[in-house]
Assembly symmetry: C2
Homo-oligomer: 138 residues x 2
């Protein structure tokens, strides 16, 4: 029988400059830095999830931690990540992105009534803010 | 003032074969398929998040949806994703992975008392199951 699972904990983005990326996510979204070195910065997504910013090329091979071996991963190109926002905060997010010099690449209304804002992080990763009514489960 | 944010909604993995990947995540984790075509499959992570499996090369450019343009993203290599599990389910997950023919690449105990299991998906993306005591916030 399949054991229980509790949802997403960590999601990773592979970036050129971990400090520049960390500043972007900290300032724009208010994520707090919980760990970090020259290779990897871990940000708390409001105490719910962890966003890992990993320097490209730095983690392709296994990494020895105090407890054991962390197997490698390394990715290039642009990935995608979406955060939940309330419908009542949609306009405020649009304004906040503008005030922070972040260009909105697209605004999409969905059939279920939700709306999305699309924009880019410093590595051109595609970020999205979505209100409820985007998916059958959200 | 920075508007409110509600945590991670969507996280994406870029894969060779969306159907093979979807089967892997559905069978191993019990994620339900909520949308899908030859290009992209969306799985519900227990109604909490959405895992997007995107065929490599299929979404590099903008995509016209009924509501508007979804900007492109495309990634190669191996990414990383972690799911939360209870400490009391650690052994059951180890057994379940074995029963499903998934090789465990590493088992790591953390200083805070948590433990992680590392293994691979069909595209060699690095998956992790982590119990509480892994991060300051978890």
């Amino acid at each position: 029988m399949r054991p229980k699972l509790g949802g997403v904990l960590e999601t990773a983005l592979y970036v050129e400059d971990v400090e520049a990326s960390a500043r972007f996510y900290q300032e724009l979204f208010g994520f707090e830095r919980i760990e970090g070195d020259h290779r990897l910065v871990a940000l708390s997504v409001l105490g719910r999830q962890v966003l890992l910013l990993i320097r490209k090329g730095s983690s392709a091979g296994p990494h020895q931690s105090s407890g054991g071996v962390i197997p490698g991963s390394d990715s290039s190109g642009t990935s995608h990540l979406t955060f939940k926002i309330d419908a009542s905060d949609f306009d405020a997010w649009e304004k906040w992105l503008g005030e922070n010099g972040v260009a909105i690449e697209s605004k999409v209304p969905w059939e279920r009534g939700g709306r999305s804002l699309y924009f880019r992080d410093p590595d051109n990763h595609l970020l999205e803010l979505a209100t409820p009514g985007t998916w059958a489960i959200y």
